[in-house]
């Protein structure tokens, strides 16, 4: 793997290039402040009910102390029957779930079967463990397959938990308080959705890293229903609508009227024989 003075090196294994790490470490020692990655200081949660799984997430992503995205999507698609909420660095969660989703699709082509939730769980945990926690992605993975509904949490270092209800992110304690007091076995779909909405709202109103709206995803054996912005408890009530200014608000100093001659005086349009469709289309 030698660079030998040329610009393009040979294929790097695993797509990673550690060439600049020493330089970056030296620069940081000299006091350079690197860009802060966008993180999803967040509230994500999930609960298993009678027929399936309900996943919930807030929609705020932060870059340090500023809100970077007021309405981001934290519930990522993994398979038609599996969805995954992500907390941590936004790029990490999006790309890890995207990569595992691609692996699952290739696996589905190969085996010709619906993906199982434990398959995506194993792929995620072995991937995250391989990178020793440097990929900061804390996930809530939920889905329904031939063995029934499943709900798992995956931590950035690669450990997992199988639970009937779980929460992750900076607002996880707020959401967990709601779940612990309101959870019961074999809930109906409406009860589970209402409980999840309450849990996410608890995170939105009590945690600085979470905010804006509530997203839900309901997965059953029939399929998944992604309810984007199902609850919007933080409307922007004073949106600035530009008032049109009346004519004459700006004083007119001088005006000049130009008459554009019609093209017929300069160009003669000949009608063509043959099919109009064969004429060259320049649109």
């Amino acid at each position: 793997m030698a660079s030998s003075g040329c610009l393009v090196s040979e294929q790097k294994p695993n797509g990673f290039d550690f060439d600049l790490c020493k330089r970056n470490a030296w620069l940081e020692k000299q006091g350079l402040q690197t860009l802060k990655p966008w993180s999803t200081g967040t509230t994500i949660c999930g609960v298993v009910y009678k027929d399936g799984v309900v996943l919930g997430a807030d929609t705020r992503s932060t870059a340090g102390e500023t809100v970077a995205d007021k309405n981001c999507e934290k519930i990522h698609y993994m398979a038609p029957n599996i969805y995954c909420c992500g907390a941590g660095t936004a790029a990490d969660t999006e790309n890890v779930t995207g990569m595992i989703s691609s692996q699952l699709e290739l696996h589905r082509f190969r085996t010709n079967r619906e993906s199982r939730v434990v398959t995506s769980l194993t792929l995620l945990k072995s991937h995250l463990f391989r990178y020793q926690g440097y990929i900061s992605a804390a996930l809530v993975l939920g889905g329904v397959d031939c063995k029934g509904p499943h709900l798992f949490t995956v931590f950035p270092h690669g450990s997992t938990d199988a639970l009937p209800f779980c929460t992750m992110g900076s607002g996880s304690l707020n959401a967990m308080a709601v779940y612990e007091s309101g959870y019961k076995e074999d809930m109906s779909k409406a009860e589970a959705m209402e409980l999840t909405k309450r849990a996410i709202r608890a995170g939105i109103f009590n945690d600085l890293g979470s905010g804006s709206n509530v997203d839900l995803c309901v997965i059953t054996s029939e399929g998944a229903e992604y309810l984007r912005n199902v609850d919007m408890p933080n409307p922007r009530t004073f949106t600035a609508v530009p008032k049109p200014f009346a004519r004459g608000t700006t004083p007119v100093l001088k005006s000049k009227e130009l008459r554009v001659p019609s093209l017929e005086s300069r160009v003669t349009i000949e009608s063509q024989e043959g099919d109009v469709a064969t004429a060259m289309d320049t649109t």
Partner: protein, 136 residues
């Protein structure tokens, strides 16, 4: 060229590798670097061992012979190669990794044509470049 004649080599890439320091060069630039190198080797050895235990030693040996056959069909270094047969045999064709998502050329900052001669010299060990200061 050897002997008393001064032998000029290409400049050391200080920006990438830093000032020369025996201790720093022996260590990895990032804690993950050594682990990823050893992981690849370990996974390969584990897989061959498992297949040997399951199907007998002839099976992994035959697999390795086929892989060597695939590896012997190559283009000049630096030119893109799909390695279709090698990936199909090893199962990597159905896998999706960072290498498939990152560094796909359109995001790369280095988009110059590869210097095939320099890469081939480096591969054969007759290059005029400075000895590499990266981990093997």
């Amino acid at each position: 060229m050897e002997g008393s004649v001064p032998f000029f080599h290409e400049p050391v890439d200080t920006l990438r590798h830093g000032l020369p320091s025996a201790k720093a060069d022996a260590q990895a630039a990032h804690p993950l670097q050594k682990k990823m190198i050893s992981d690849n080797a370990r996974e390969r050895a584990d897989k061959l061992g498992m297949l040997g235990n399951l199907y007998g030693t002839a099976f992994p040996i035959k697999m390795q012979i086929e892989e060597q056959m695939m590896a012997s069909v190559q283009r000049l270094p630096g030119l893109p190669s799909s390695n279709l047969c090698a990936e199909a045999l090893s199962g990597k064709l159905d896998d999706f990794d960072f290498a498939d998502a990152l560094g796909q050329g359109k995001d790369e900052s280095e988009t110059a044509l590869p210097d095939v001669h320099a890469l081939l010299e480096a591969r054969l060990g007759v290059s005029k470049a400075a000895p590499t200061r990266e981990l093997p």
